[in-house]
């Protein structure tokens, strides 16, 4: 800061940095200290090095947890920031997965798969927009939104489970009922010779890159003016309406963004396992995003990512019969004892511990349970 007026190239570089900072940092996210970004860089470096250390099999396994992180982020935006508890993020996840499967099986060229990738995300967003329009413009509020989204997952589960017959074949792609759709091609992006196909390690890096971009992009989003309106809707709908904002439109757009993110997750999921089945609409799976986001801290994006990857890693490693007992207990403990979630709690503890220099921004920050 002291060199601001001295060096020739100083002001412009410094200017870029403050602009970036203003863009990424604000009252709606935790972590804006130098230490935070240093920690961010260390974790990122560790994740980049992971495939070299652990091998391609482990990297491929780990990329699934990163894929789920998009689903966690989508619920964090919708529930944590805009206050809409959606039990149906898996609807958009699953619809996107199925869309990707149908398009990519029919047109298994790199270009076709690129189109399938985009179509999947668009499918998730469209599904969310339709459901959201139906709910928010119909005046459905609060817990009834949760119930409609929950019931939507059940409808799709019941529906997809009965698509076993021959009449449920779209082009080359059979929907397959309970057995689901196998032989979904790997993700590929690009046209003709310039195309890249992603498998194991390259898929890991693609997902990691997308995740970092998404995380930073969402940070910018929730700290923008639009993000402030989003939080205002969460805090007090009627007052936000009175200030002249169209609450229905805000909710619909947030819900659609959430649908697109969940869709991205679903597309990556389908191409990760080369498989999608009605299991993605099951209640047990539908509840996982709620668990991740509750444990990590619903009002922080970082919490959603950390808890998703952490819980899925543990659940996958524990495996078998004790996994869901552990996850359920974790959820109970957090909802009852620490409703704000893990990441805000750690952050607060760290700020308390440092104690001495609470900057203006940190002291008016509003993270934590309500």
């Amino acid at each position: 800061m002291s060199t601001e007026r001295v060096g020739g190239s100083g002001p412009s570089a410094e200017g870029h940095r403050t602009r970036l900072q203003r863009w990424l940092e604000g009252p709606n996210t935790v972590g804006r200290s130098r230490e935070f970004w240093a920690g961010f860089a260390v974790v990122l470096a560790a994740l980049l090095a992971y495939p070299f250390v652990a091998g391609s099999y482990q990297a491929s396994r780990f990329s699934l947890f990163l894929v789920y992180a998009f689903l966690g982020l989508s619920l964090s935006v919708v529930w944590g920031y805009a206050g809409i508890l959606s039990f149906g993020q898996v609807v958009f996840f699953g619809v996107a997965g199925y869309t990707f499967a149908v398009v990519s099986i029919n047109v298994a060229t790199p270009l076709g798969i690129t189109v399938a990738f985009l179509a999947g995300i668009a499918g998730g967003a469209l599904m969310a927009a339709v459901l959201g329009y139906f709910m928010f413009y119909g005046g459905v509020r609060n817990v009834y939104v949760t119930i409609i989204t929950l019931v939507s997952t059940l409808v799709l589960h019941t529906f997809m489970a009965q698509t076993a017959g021959d009449e449920w074949t779209i082009g080359e792609a059979a929907l397959g009922g309970f057995n689901g759709m196998p032989t979904i091609p790997n993700l590929a992006l690009g046209v003709g010779p310039a195309a890249v196909t992603f498998d194991s390690v390259s898929f890991y890096y693609l997902v990691l890159a997308l995740l970092v971009v998404t995380y930073l992009g969402l940070r910018a989003l929730v700290n923008s003016d639009y993000g402030r309106v989003m939080v205002a809707v969460r805090e007090d709908e009627d007052r936000t309406e009175m200030f002249g904002y169209d609450v229905r439109r805000v909710k619909l757009s947030v819900f659609t963004i959430g649908g697109a993110l969940a869709g991205l997750s679903g597309v990556l999921y389908a191409s990760w396992g080369n498989y999608v089945s009605p299991q993605v609409f099951e209640l047990a799976f539908a509840s996982l995003p709620v668990i991740w986001v509750s444990v990590g801290g619903r009002k922080t994006l970082l919490g959603a990512v950390v808890a998703t990857v952490g819980i899925e890693f543990v659940r996958n490693s524990l495996g078998g019969e004790w996994a869901f007992v552990a996850v359920g207990t974790l959820l109970l403990v957090f909802i009852l004892g620490l409703p704000g979630g893990l990441v805000p709690w750690i952050h607060d503890a760290y700020v308390d511990y440092r104690g001495d220099t609470p900057t203006q921004n940190l002291s008016d920050r509003s993270v934590g349970g309500d």
């Binding site: 609060n142 817990v143 009834y144 529906f159 007992v325 909802i335």
Partner: protein, 312 residues
């Protein structure tokens, strides 16, 4: 081809299922403002206790059913004390940490859903670990009603009668007894009720135990007709959930009307296009109903009544 008599039996069957599944959930939701997503697992506790009492302990079926009710009610009581009101952990933490750690889940709809969902995960998996993936089943008593090619289980049709009796009993309890009066006072205004000397904490505790006991009764009644797997609660939960939101705030009337409406839709579509579509039609009806009558059928009736009174 729709056969009238067949349709009637199917209606009675799904009416009974929806009402019995919903009644305990509706009571807890209506009075405590708690959505118990572990309701299906409470039904599972009742069904398991009944089956174990009948098959392993050799008790006659009616006694075994009573055991199922009592076990579920007692379990509900423990859950209320430990999780919903948090009073047991809070008493402990007061003693050792000098502060409370849990805020009661009363009237925190979203949090109560998420917390009880956690409980249901633990319960399903806990039962699977301790008792395995399935249990022997009690045979369905009372034989079948048969006529020209169709046959229906007498017992399952009889359950429709039980459902109606249960609703009548619930109505009686909430309108004619001291507990019912206190409970209704607590819904109207918790603060005022407390100021007038109602122990609302005890009302909540009793309500949760009664709701759990009714879940246990549902489990006990259906134990002879369903496959005993740890996930059996799931099929009850969805119907119950949908009936409660479609019915609206009034426990008895709402459950009755929702059971009637959803039961007929389910029976009609199952008959016309198959069981799968019966279920889908039921769920879609619920979504559409919520869109147009966000406060449920009884909420709408209430709205009509106020409008008429204002007009008069």
């Amino acid at each position: 081809m729709v056969n009238g008599l067949n349709l009637l039996f199917q209606f009675l069957d799904s009416f009974a299922f929806i009402v019995l599944a919903a009644v305990g959930l509706a009571i807890i939701f209506g009075i405590m403002g708690v959505i118990n997503l572990a309701h299906g697992e409470f039904i599972m506790v009742g069904a398991y206790a009944t089956t174990l009492a009948n098959i392993r302990a050799g008790l006659p079926l009616p006694v075994a059913m009573l055991v199922g009710v009592v076990v579920a009610a007692a379990f509900g009581l423990v859950v209320e004390r430990v999780i919903i009101s948090g009073s047991v952990p809070n008493a402990l933490s007061q003693r050792f940490l000098g502060r409370v750690v849990i805020e009661p889940l009363y009237d925190r709809l979203a949090d109560s859903m998420v917390a009880t969902w956690g409980l249901s995960l633990v319960m399903v998996q806990g039962i699977r670990i301790t008792l395995g993936n399935s249990l022997d089943q009690i045979g369905t008593p009372l034989g079948k009603i048969a006529y020209s090619g169709f046959s229906y289980s007498t017992y399952r049709v009889l359950l429709a009668g039980v459902a109606v009796c249960l609703l009548a009993l619930t109505y009686y309890v909430f309108t004619r007894t001291e507990y019912g009066m206190r409970a209704r006072a607590t819904i109207q205004s918790e603060e005022t009720a407390r100021a007038l000397g109602v122990d609302t904490e005890r009302t909540y505790m009793t309500t949760f135990a009664i709701g759990s006991g009714l879940a246990g009764l549902t489990g006990a009644l259906y134990a002879p007709t369903i496959t005993m797997v740890p996930t059996l609660g799931g099929s009850f939960l969805v119907e119950a959930f949908v009936a409660v939101v479609v019915g609206g705030s009034s426990v008895v009337l709402g459950t009755l009307l929702a059971g009637g409406l959803l039961g007929s839709i389910n029976a009609l579509f199952s008959n016309l296009v198959g069981t799968f579509f019966g279920r889908i039609a039921l769920l879609v009806t619920a979504i559409v109903m919520l869109r147009f009558l966000p406060n449920g059928i009884t909420g709408y009736l209430e709205h009509l009544r106020t409008k008429r009174q204002e007009g008069a």
